[in-house]
């Protein structure tokens, strides 16, 4: 074997070793959570990397809690509403910002970007007052409002960039066909913007699904909580016990929908994320 062939083989080996390290780093915590969730509490602290038999007691424990089911329902309502509102507003805003020439358009774009730079904590108390005033405290509405505020800038920016790349003549052709701006947006542009909408929609969904600080602050009762807060507040029989089994089971339950969503939209996300990158 020549030196060159050995060098090539070593490089390939090194490449795959790096891949394995990366995959283990990324996936192992989740994998361990899954394993833990299938163990009965008696085996919890025996270190093991494989499952011998499936034990669903943790899942039954979590799912028989009425408040956890309510949390899942709240999370779904909040996340879906945030995605729907953000996409609707983002799409219409991107039409205005990307297609209509008006004075101060760049300034509006900068303002939108500026809004997204505030850390959550900075606006927390102010937002709390707003939500109290609007009578949305301890209801999904308050969370929908606050999440939308933080999701919209990103949505608007990505969709506007994408919208600007669609050729002008396409819109003019629609105008010649007698289409109103709304028809142009929904019948001509929207079908072409699915990759961008899938990307932004999914990221908005994940953000809303995972959010913790606002969810903790703006809700009071178990029945109005979302999943991240609910999991954090799962408690054992005494203050000295952390019920790892149910916590892991709950984590797996709320992670699986995200994984499925990402897998479904995987290709679109990739094309959507790179679509804006090449031609700027």
């Amino acid at each position: 074997m020549s030196a060159r062939a050995i060098k090539g083989a070593l490089l390939t080996l090194g490449f795959w070793l790096m891949v394995i390290v990366l995959v283990v780093y990324a996936v192992f915590p989740f994998y361990y959570a899954v394993i833990t969730s299938f163990k009965p509490s008696s085996e919890l602290f025996e270190v093991g990397y494989w499952i011998d038999h499936l034990d669903f007691s943790n899942y039954t424990a979590v799912l028989t809690q009425g408040s956890f089911l309510a949390s899942i329902r709240n999370s779904i309502i909040v996340a879906v509403s945030v995605v729907a509102i953000a996409l609707l507003l983002g799409l219409t805003a991107s039409y205005a910002l990307g297609r209509v020439r008006f004075r101060g358009r760049t300034r509006v774009m900068m303002l939108v970007l500026g809004v997204s730079m505030f850390p959550q904590v900075a606006v927390l108390s102010g937002l709390f007052e707003v939500i109290r005033t609007l009578n949305l405290y301890n209801s999904p509405g308050g969370l929908i409002l606050s999440y939308t505020i933080f999701t919209l800038p990103f949505t608007v920016w990505v969709l506007t960039t994408f919208m600007r790349q669609l050729p002008d003549e396409l819109e003019e052709a629609a105008i010649m066909d007698g289409a109103s701006p709304w028809i142009t947006l929904t019948k001509v542009f929207m079908p072409l913007m699915w990759p961008a909408m899938a990307t932004t929609g999914l990221l908005a969904f994940i953000a809303a699904w995972n959010e913790f600080l606002f969810a903790l602050t703006f809700t009071l009762t178990d029945s109005e909580r979302t999943v991240p807060v609910a999991i954090a507040l799962i408690s054992g029989g005494s203050q000295y016990e952390l019920p790892w089994g149910p916590i892991m089971a709950a984590s797996v339950i709320v992670t699986v929908p995200l994984v499925i969503l990402v897998l479904i939209f995987q290709r679109r996300i990739v094309s959507g994320l790179t679509a804006g990158a090449v031609k700027g």
């Binding site: 050729p167 003549e169 396409l170 003019e172 052709a173 629609a174 105008i175 010649m176 066909d177 007698g178 289409a179 028809i183 019948k187 001509v188 079908p191 072409l192």
Partner: protein
């Protein structure tokens, strides 16, 4: 009625005057071509008629109606874009039916119209395809079909053939000509390709810097250009221009002196021009014939282009006059030869210092 009248139409973008008081009348069923160098405003003028740009000043009439403030759909115009601009996510059928559906036409009416349009454009086998599965020529036809489907009285074309390769361009040119004969609708066509303009047009409008330089039939523009600009713009290879000095002018004609060619008698009315004034003499390459060198009349052959059916000869003389001559393909002239040049006075054009054509005398006058 789908006649079009432009009355002192102007367009300004901010302080830039793109169209300056253009007045033009287009008859029903006429095929009009706008030509001009890039940036002359020909596309803008088309977009003003289409309704994609607003008119700053002046009136635009379609039929008997002032349409300045109507939408493109209300004006009854259809447009074919340079990039086709087909809706990528819709089938050929849906592309063509989009406008009709928006008009809330009944399902049978839509199907009937689309099938009829598809038949005219030979698109029937392609109706279910998406644009990306079509060739350039097919996309072009779909774009025309979409513009035609609503049966507008006026069809607008914005450089529709410039994205096609040469052979397809000739084919589509013929199809557009046939289509015009068949539909009989008014067509307005923008191009920078003068072959398209000459072959398609009933009437050519030459634009320059936002105003009309000349309007006329292809023959008029070629044989009787009103200005040096039109003379140089229409025709390929371009018309030759030589500096000339007016020697004498009478009722029946005038005599000019051209360096290298000597004194020439021409049938032009030049009595209003001062003797000794400098003029510009124009002659098309096919009317400039080479012969054996004689006296001062000596031109060096710089290059010979063999085109199969003819040859183009590029010439230069001691006073740096660059000329082009078009001769038959079998010419014995080769690069490096010295020839004399002879021009036919009947085919000469004479332009004054303002670049306007001088009037012809006698029976030749228009």
């Amino acid at each position: 009625m789908a006649s079009v009248q432009l009355d002192h139409v102007s367009k300004r973008f901010g302080s830039t005057h793109v169209i300056n008081g253009v007045s033009l009348s287009i008859e029903d069923g006429e095929f009009v071509v706008f030509v001009g160098p890039s940036g002359c405003g020909k596309s803008t003028l088309l977009r003003l008629i289409a309704g994609l740009e607003s008119i700053t000043d002046g009136d635009l009439m379609i039929g008997d109606q002032r349409v300045n403030n109507l939408t493109p759909q209300e004006r009854g115009v259809g447009m074919v874009f340079q990039s086709y601009a087909l809706y990528p996510h819709m089938s050929v059928y849906d592309n063509m039916a989009f406008g009709l559906k928006l008009e809330k036409a009944g399902k049978e009416t839509v199907a009937e119209r689309i099938n009829e349009t598809a038949r005219i454009l030979q698109l029937e086998p392609l109706l279910e395809r998406k644009p990306k599965a079509l060739s350039g020529g097919q996309r072009q036809r779909v774009a025309m079909g979409r513009a035609m489907a609503r049966e507008p009285g006026i069809l607008l074309f914005d450089e529709p053939l410039s994205n096609l390769d040469a052979s397809l361009r000739v084919q589509m040119r013929n199809e557009i000509a046939r289509l015009h004969g068949r539909l009989g609708s008014t067509m307005i066509y923008v191009t920078h390709d003068q072959v398209e303009a000459m072959t398609l047009a009933d009437k050519i409008v030459v634009l320059r810097a936002g105003h009309i330089e000349q309007v006329g039939s292809p023959r008029t523009l070629y044989e009787r250009p009103a200005s040096k600009f039109v003379a140089g713009f229409i025709g390929s290879p371009a018309m030759n221009f030589m500096a000339a000095t007016l020697v004498d002018a009478t009722d029946t004609g005038c005599r000019v002196n051209v360096p290298g060619l000597g004194d020439i008698d021409l049938p032009f009315q030049a009595r209003d021009v001062a003797r000794g004034a400098s003029l510009s003499l124009g002659i098309r390459p096919e009317h400039l014939q080479p012969g054996d060198p004689e006296g001062d009349n000596r031109f060096d052959v710089v290059n010979v282009e063999y085109l199969g059916n003819e040859c183009c000869i590029y010439l230069d003389n001691a006073t740096d006059t660059f000329l082009t001559s078009r001769v038959e393909a079998a010419t014995p002239i080769t690069r490096g030869d010295t020839v004399s040049l002879h021009l036919d006075p009947q085919h000469v054009h004479l332009f004054d210092s303002d670049e306007r054509a001088l009037a012809r005398t006698g029976a030749d006058r228009q």
